[in-house]
């Protein structure tokens, strides 16, 4: 269907004159003077309707044109550069520019400030019949297998919480695991961390720990960041898992929010009943991703590999990739109705069931030593582990947590031992706090008003108050409100404000995975080419017409007219230095012209696409300056070194 809208007419009228008339001549033939641009656009409309241009143009698009058109529909704010990057170099930039210009000439797309849009003229047919995600993200229908169990669980991260909290010195200052830690981890976590895959898994765990900021390091001791763990505990299991997966696939926590969005969209978009070759999957992920770190081929390969190791994706025997059929974000690691996620026994053993969540397991991990990570993970309560746990939480918190989960009182012998150890732990104490010292004549105000009572950690002696560093600012304001103005002495504890990032909840792409079959309109280019043979046209003119037929911008015999061709001077090569110089000067006057430059280096012909900016005289030499595309890097070359220069129009608009 052709939609002749005012918007489209307006677009046509905004074309630079030279392109406008070129286009009109292509479709309407020679233009008689006097002319009126509005009338010409109306004539063009009539021509298009009369000749069913939508079908003739759209149904004869070749596969590459359809691919690129589909990418325009799927990429957010597509530009020539982003489309080039999207295809990961599969389509050379010069060829891509040529196809985009052809699609503009076919009136299928247009550009506005470099951003490419599908033209409103054919948009309905393009969207409904032409764009072909099945072709772009080529995939095969498969019968899903039984799936791979998901090893990244809350239980695993909780076991690392216990291991890293209770064992000193396992991490280097860079955050990497020490060699000793690898040995220890593969001993405690049999199977999961052995062999090369094991090392990769440990690396992913390291990234999760680092990117989610699960710990802060205090003099080689790792302290859990309570605010982060609290947030993880509050998240639904599927969402917490997304955080972990995303954190495992990136080197930097800076882009974590975008990475979470990307992982979620991948999981929700990729079906389990189709398999993809890696290159096609990369394109899909690229289209789904808002993450600026997922732009190049290598980064996408790494990302896919990480997702495979994390069992989000799985590789089939033929090398294609599919989504793990066991993966269901709404039902990650199901508990089968068993809410009693821990088993505590009188011999001080604590066992985690595989479906334990962060909320249930946090305090147990803090208070007990990891013995073995396996399907059921085993811990042991010891005096040392409990004393360390007491630096983070109280015995009551631990006991309440365990009793709530097990719905039973903890064994008496354990309870009593815990209480004994608790008593021992307060015989010598170490606080990290801000100390407020107040003279007698001010102290009575604090006592009388109780103004900071709720913030006092400890009042070890008259006039001395310990306050949590993060509460100090509030305490200071409150003290000032009662005319006590503490002077900050040596008070420079940095506040730890690490938090988990938010991410955008976007909807998954709905993609028709099957390849579309484009109707054949029965247009015969050969018939048109035969007509050209009988036209009274010069050789150059006939060649130009043939090219237009081949490119599909001439599709009726009415368009085959002499005198419409613009036999522009567009290429200069060899020893004709002046011609090359003139061609460069001409293209400098047009904002849409790019130059293809060929030159010889190391006995090989090199090609570059340049946006020319100026010619500079340097002594005897004339140097062309420009911007190399699509990299957008500055570029300069001595014009005498150029063996061939070709003018290329990349867009009409």
């Amino acid at each position: 269907m052709i939609n002749i809208s005012n918007q489209w007419k307006q677009l046509m009228l905004t074309l630079p004159d030279n392109y406008f008339f070129e286009l009109m001549k292509n479709y309407l033939g020679k233009i008689e003077t006097p002319f009126n641009k509005h009338n010409l656009v109306d004539d063009l409309s009539k021509f298009l309707v009369k000749h069913e241009a939508d079908k003739k143009i759209l149904y004869s698009l070749d596969q590459k044109e359809i691919l690129i058109l589909t990418s325009v529909a799927f990429i957010e704010k597509p530009t020539a550069k982003s489309i080039f990057e999207f295809f990961l170099g599969d389509v050379p930039f010069i060829e891509l520019c040529d196809i985009l210009k052809t699609l503009e000439e076919k009136l299928v797309i247009y550009s506005d400030s470099g951003i490419i849009h599908i033209s409103p003229l054919f948009s309905d047919t393009v969207n409904n019949e032409i764009i072909n995600p099945g072709l772009l993200y080529k995939s095969e229908m498969i019968t899903p297998g039984s799936g791979t169990y998901i090893w990244l669980t809350d239980s695993l991260i909780l076991s690392f919480l216990s291991l890293l909290f209770h064992q000193k010195d396992l991490l280097k200052s860079s955050g990497a695991f020490k060699k000793r830690a690898y040995t220890q981890v593969s001993g405690i976590f049999p199977n999961l961390f052995s062999g090369p895959l094991g090392n990769k898994r440990i690396e992913l765990i390291r990234r999760i720990i680092h990117n989610l900021k699960l710990f802060r390091i205090d003099d080689s001791i790792l302290i859990p960041r309570e605010q982060i763990w609290e947030k993880l505990q509050k998240l639904p299991r599927g969402e917490a898992w997304l955080y972990m997966v995303a954190a495992g696939t990136t080197e930097s926590s800076g882009n974590l929010g975008d990475r979470i969005t990307t992982v979620k969209r991948v999981i929700e978009t990729v079906p389990s009943n189709r398999s993809f070759y890696p290159e096609n999957l990369k394109k899909l992920i690229k289209a789904l991703s808002s993450d600026c770190h997922l732009t190049n081929n290598a980064a996408l390969s790494d990302f896919i590999e990480d997702l495979i190791v994390l069992n989000v994706l799985e590789v089939l025997e033929d090398g294609t990739i599919t989504k793990n059929p066991l993966l269901d974000l709404s039902n990650i690691n199901p508990d089968y109705g068993d809410r009693k996620t821990i088993i505590i026994q009188p011999n001080f053993d604590i066992t985690f069931k595989p479906w334990i969540n962060f909320k249930d397991g946090y305090f147990v991990s803090i208070f007990s030593d990891l013995k073995k990570m396996d399907i059921y993970t085993e811990f042991s309560l010891t005096k040392e582990s409990v004393l360390r746990g007491l630096t983070v939480a109280s015995i009551d918190t631990f006991i309440n947590s365990v009793e709530k989960i097990t719905a039973n009182p903890i064994p008496d012998n354990i309870r009593l031992s815990l209480r004994e150890w608790e008593k021992e732990s307060v015989k010598a104490r170490h606080y990290e706090a801000s100390v407020v010292i107040v003279d007698k004549d001010k102290d009575f105000i604090i006592k009388e008003t109780g103004v900071i009572d709720h913030l006092i950690l400890l009042n070890p002696a008259n006039g001395i108050y310990l306050i949590k560093p993060e509460d100090y600012k509030r305490a200071k304001v409150l003290l000032e409100s009662v005319d006590i103005f503490p002077v900050d002495k040596n008070h420079s504890l940095p506040l730890d404000d690490a938090t988990l990032p938010d991410y955008i909840q976007s909807k998954p792409l709905k993609i028709e995975w099957e390849e579309r079959e484009i109707k054949d309109y029965g247009l015969s280019k050969n018939k048109l080419l035969d007509i050209i043979k009988n036209l009274p046209a010069s050789k150059e003119e006939a060649e130009d017409l043939k090219k237009r037929v081949t490119r599909g911008i001439i599709f009726t015999k009415e368009q085959l007219q002499t005198g419409i061709s613009k036999t522009d001077f567009s290429e200069a090569k060899g020893i004709n230095y002046q011609a090359k110089l003139r061609l460069i000067e001409v293209s400098l006057k047009s904002t849409n012209d790019r130059l293809e430059i060929n030159y010889v280096e190391d006995f090989q012909i090199k090609k570059e696409l340049i946006l020319p900016t100026k010619i500079e005289k340097q002594g005897e030499l004339k140097v062309l300056h420009g911007i190399k595309l699509p990299q957008e890097q500055p570029y300069s070359i001595d014009i005498s070194k150029i063996s061939l220069v070709r003018r290329i129009q990349t867009t009409l608009f």
Partner: protein
Amino acid sequence: MNISEFKPLIVQGDSSLLLDVHNPDFESARGDISPFAELEKSPEHMHTYKITPLSLWNAASAGINHEKISEILDNYSRFPVPDNVKFTIKDIISRYGKLNLDKTEDDMTLSLTVDSDMIYMELSAQKSLKTLLRPVENRMFLLKLLDRGIVKQELLRLGYPVKDLAPLKDGDPYEFSFREVTESGRVFGIRDYQKEACSSFVGNNLPGTGFGTLVLPCGAGKTIVGMSIMNKLQTNTLILTTNVAAVHQWIDELVDKTTIPRDEIGEYTGDKKIIKPITVATYQILVWRKNKESDFPHFDLFRTGNWGLIIYDEVHLLPAPVFKVTAEIQAVRRVGLTATLIREDGAEGDVFTLVGPKRFDVPWKQLEDKGWIATAYCHEIRIDLYEDDKIKYAIADKRSKFRIASENPWKVSIIKKLLEKHRDDQTLVIGQYVDQLVEIAKIIKAPIITGKTANPEREQIFEKFKKGEVKVIVVSKVANFAINLPDASVAIQVSGTFGSRQEEAQRLGRILRPKEKDSQFYSIITRHTTEETFSANRQKFLTEQGYKYNIEIWNTKDLM
């Protein structure tokens, strides 16, 4: 799957098995996995078994193949059995039967045949086997009969179990039967689990049976099991045990429950060297020698009698030199008896190899539930360190700290209180340090038995204790093993050998013989000292068997 459909077994990735005690299929699962998995611990909710190369080879020797094991695991497993576990089982079991040990025409030589060129070459290149194995053609080695045990031990270390097809020698026959009413007038019968333990050892008398270790809780009647095996085999028997009191106990039991006359039982100890068709000896006399360089003269005991069976009582205490001689007598049927196969020197593997693999094991609580051993309640009483000792303790080294804590004078006051509470009960006060025990004995006016107490005096005290004429005796660690004190129902442990789990279990074992009332086991430890940590370690074996310690903190003011 929902919670009600949960199966009882969790097969972990490291080949350990967790068995859910509360699952309706617990009993049948336990029965089915026991032949190929060793029970590691059996606390209240979840029992742990371990599949080891040894347990798999034992299963293989009993004719169980890897398909059957996988089928059992699949049948009971809550989650899919990890592939690596199945692979490992298949791989390990496949090694069984690759090496066969058999007799040759020469009685003093055995043949070892290998069914793979690769293994044959590997063994040929092994330095440790060079002097033991003589290669001959057709992938065969020859070895001396006397080296049978050492070769098997070394091959096992290299990961190759030997299928021992060489027949065991039959000793001189010795016929006897059990009495239906004991000499002391009680009706006597052998319990089902004792019969089961006996059959698991004797088997079908075919190659591969007739050597092994049986693990039964203290008080479960290991002596009866030993006598049952003797009765099945009807052959001359050498019984080795820990001390003279235990020797006498064995002799008394044999006379009491079998038709063997007392004069046909020999006592081979420091005092007597009598060898009879049935001879009971101590480990000490076997390993006695003039000096470090001289031979062990009493090792001849193994070689002189034509024994058809050797019983190693309390096999976990088998002294290292006896390993050597045991290695030489691999043609004789031999059984190890123990309650706690935990060796502080880590030589459990040697026990399994030389005496024989574990053939039977039963959780303590299972026998308690059936009433075969006494119900015992464990208490840990904590008391503050004596005020005067606090500075001394603070500045002492680690070893001295433990001793200061162990000898805390408050403990005597607690003992007095406990004795008052149990004034009608037969009570043992057990400790580590003789000085402390002497002091306690003096204060509570009770007889004391230490290593220095002469045997007649010991016997006299035991006799009075058995008759109830003496209510309390103080004993040093000589009481850890094999002292038959049938009427003791209370044990008070004042100090121990650091964190020894075995000692703790054995001491509890002193009061586990079934009786009308429940038994009470008290362990007194000094609060907030290293004794607490050692105590926690000591209790591990028992808590893993399902015992719970009731911890009480006593106030020193109440003791003043």
